[in-house]
Symmetry: D2
Subunit: 270 residues, 4 copies
């Protein structure tokens, strides 16, 4: 399935503003790039590096005044819905692969250490493995209200736990935090999610967040915001939480005048 | 200078307890190993991996009952006091090396995003670079009281900011958090610190924590707990905060009956 | 199964001799360390780093005169014979995991580019996948004579191809080179191999070399020198060829007076 | 200084042809990207990975028939000539940074082990450090004849040493091999080199190769083919030799009908 993704930002910057960007799809085995373009107006040079999770980060310094940034890409993804295996077993802690261990630790927005007791109260009685993660997602989906504007850049999973409202970032944070509290490695995923195979009405397109949990012998996609299998996900980055994979990190106080995000299915020659 | 370091743990575990250990000095250019031994009673097999910061982590599963763990090493370190350069300049954000950027981000215990405003209130008037970091350290040293038992595994730099007491871990957390708020990359360091060249009385030896800030073209040691140059530091690990470089992470509820830490200067053939 | 491994080197060095060592078993999921010790006489400081393949390398500078170096460890390995699956399929080039691609390239001792034509002449008619790799191993085992002293540090797989004699390093080099020529990722493995379950007579113990080929979805052990399944292998390192995982690399001209290698099964409390 | 680089390949492939590409400039601190585009006709999906040296590799499978591939980019590089410091000292082996050690080892095309004796015969009398590397470059420049068509994909530095002809790849290979023989870490560099500040006549533009040697505390550019400081270099990749950083690696037998390379200075808004 071919997906067109992209985004456009219109900034007004009072002075020199260093920024870091993560908008490019990971070009790995699951999602292949067909074409891409990145442009800024005025034309600005940028550099690129990989963070400790292997995500691509672009560095760019905005000059004073107005800057337009635009990214577009065509991506080929498997035209299938999120994998599910209700038999997927929980891996005993001592058998977890080394590289999953970091995703058991608490992080800035995911205070799994603080939520340990309530997590076990709520989910300790469920069957370990897939059913336990599914129970977490069902609970978050049913108990947290989706409300644009209900969270801010400081909102942690603990806040979501307490206030029971949020956006997709917050649903993902709370879901993965509870998994970590239950000793299941879980990581935050950030990307594009087109409305493919979903009945209207559609909200305005935005970047999207979900999470992955490690069960049996691999990572599985879970999305407590939507809580139904979806197709067409395009991953930009993975990390401990939203702080590790921020769409844009700015050092300074630029005004974001408008932001547009695009994610659509297109024909094969689209 | 040759330093003998080591530690001994005596655990009573109600059941199978997976654990991760960081007790081994980093054997890099600055600190060379002369000898080391690691033993457990009963004899237990362990595996080893490197985390995303390059720290060595040992995995070990405690059986039910009592386990003794003991690590000993002789380390050769430069016999000099912490480097200082009052002229070291602050690096503009857009010129910072890529690998320092992660140490500008907030983390579980170091909420530099939350403390941004107070940090600028307090230190915005100081000269950028070395003087600014030194002002942070002086302030933490003078305003936070050292008190064993005043903090727990959940204590963040924000708590220390509010309550003004802590142990060396907390002094380091608050100092590095304020640096990050001021756009200076700062990372947590965990290791052994012998009482070399320090007048008595001595507290019981323990693991120690300080931080490093990036200025000019390198990382520099800062230690707001002691706030005087020291010699003989032996680094075990570096990370965003204490969560990344925990001496031991246990999954379960073993009782730590006793813990002993050792760090002493020894003669060259010691 | 618990294996005792170790080695001892006795060097006479005319001057300062920088050296790099690889003698320590990889402490990964498959082989767990129980105890280890490293000592030198005179007592010498060393540092440690990881090469690009994740192997541990120890750096050590020998002083003028005589130096003894000794490494000992107890390792827990699965008490099973080398896995085999005659149905394991060859992975089409375009589907190979990224991290296997480097093991398709020619290297200093493994000139798979030069041997491409003969490899296809000899093995192009065999069934792809496991049968093809097995055919390569059988051919090497039958056509190359084992002869201590028949090869030197410059001997490449091309030399072995031409002269048809070698030691285990050369058997491994030729086997893996032919696999690469046939578009099967293959890597050199270096370690300890005890005589467990093997009838006498025994040769004097030495370090050992074999190779791994990537089929289906994993790496498999192949050992054209012995060409029968073995148990008790303890891996020290993996790389493109013997150059990447040298037991010791010396810069200078020390005389190796004696070298002893040890690899034995021991009881559980051994 | 802004450089426009690019390349175009026209392939005729008899069947499915897996390929790996390295044509994209490294977007690091020294060279910043301003814009780039990559396109194929027919439109083909690709994936991307980083090799063990941090170079970007793109994987792409050519279908049977004709394929056009085109890459274009604008790059901002410092408008200065290659750095030189005739006082740069040679680093004693025991003090070399860990990450330089791999660039002392022999490799497929750079048999520094075989050329050790002649290297010391020729250059053992020169002053260590910068003068020694400069002497190597002068010698290669004067003793090897540049001749298109004189080398092939199998040509090693040993062949160049023996036949004394080659293209820029071969000049770089021989120069860096002699450095390694002399215990100076040296790595192969592959990229674009515009004819900026060079008097005509110009050869047809092609990819270019040079090498870097580690002296004092950093890597320095050396280019025995041109042997004069140049400006406008755009680095694509670095590795042990040309095998590690091949512009394109094909698995199959496609016919390359035409290849065009572009590297030009352009105005700031070019």
């Amino acid at each position: 399935m071919r997906i067109r993704v992209g985004c456009e930002f219109d900034y007004e910057s009072p002075g020199i503003t260093p920024t870091i960007w993560q908008v490019r799809p990971r070009a790995d085995r699951e999602q292949r790039l067909v074409s891409e373009s990145w442009s800024t107006s005025p034309s600005l040079p940028w550099t690129s590096y990989h963070d400790t999770y292997g995500n691509v980060c672009n560095r760019l310094t905005l000059p004073p005044g107005r800057t337009l940034l635009r990214y577009d890409a065509h991506v080929e993804v498997p035209g299938v819905f999120d994998d599910a295996d209700k038999e997927a077993r929980q891996v005993p802690l001592e058998s977890l692969p080394d590289e999953t261990m970091v995703f058991l630790l608490a992080s800035r927005f995911c205070l799994s250490d603080v939520l340990r007791a309530p997590a076990w109260d709520l989910f300790g009685g469920t069957e370990p493995g897939w059913p336990r993660v599914a129970a977490v997602c069902d609970w978050v989906h049913e108990n947290v209200g989706f409300q644009i504007g209900s969270s801010n850049p400081f909102t942690s999973a603990l806040d979501v736990w307490e206030h029971r409202t949020g956006v997709c970032r917050d649903f993902a944070h709370l879901g993965l935090t509870l998994c970590r509290s239950l000793n299941i490695p879980a990581r935050y995923v950030f990307g594009y999610l087109p409305d493919v195979g979903v009945p209207p009405p559609y909200e305005p397109m935005d970047f999207c967040a979900w999470f992955e949990a490690y069960l049996e012998d691999r990572w599985w996609t879970f999305d407590p915001r939507n809580n139904v299998p979806r197709t067409g996900r395009v991953v930009i980055g993975r990390g401990r939480d939203a702080l590790d994979v921020a769409m844009v990190t700015t050092y300074g106080a630029p005004i974001l005048r408008t932001m547009t995000v695009l994610a659509d299915e297109v024909g094969d020659e689209g």
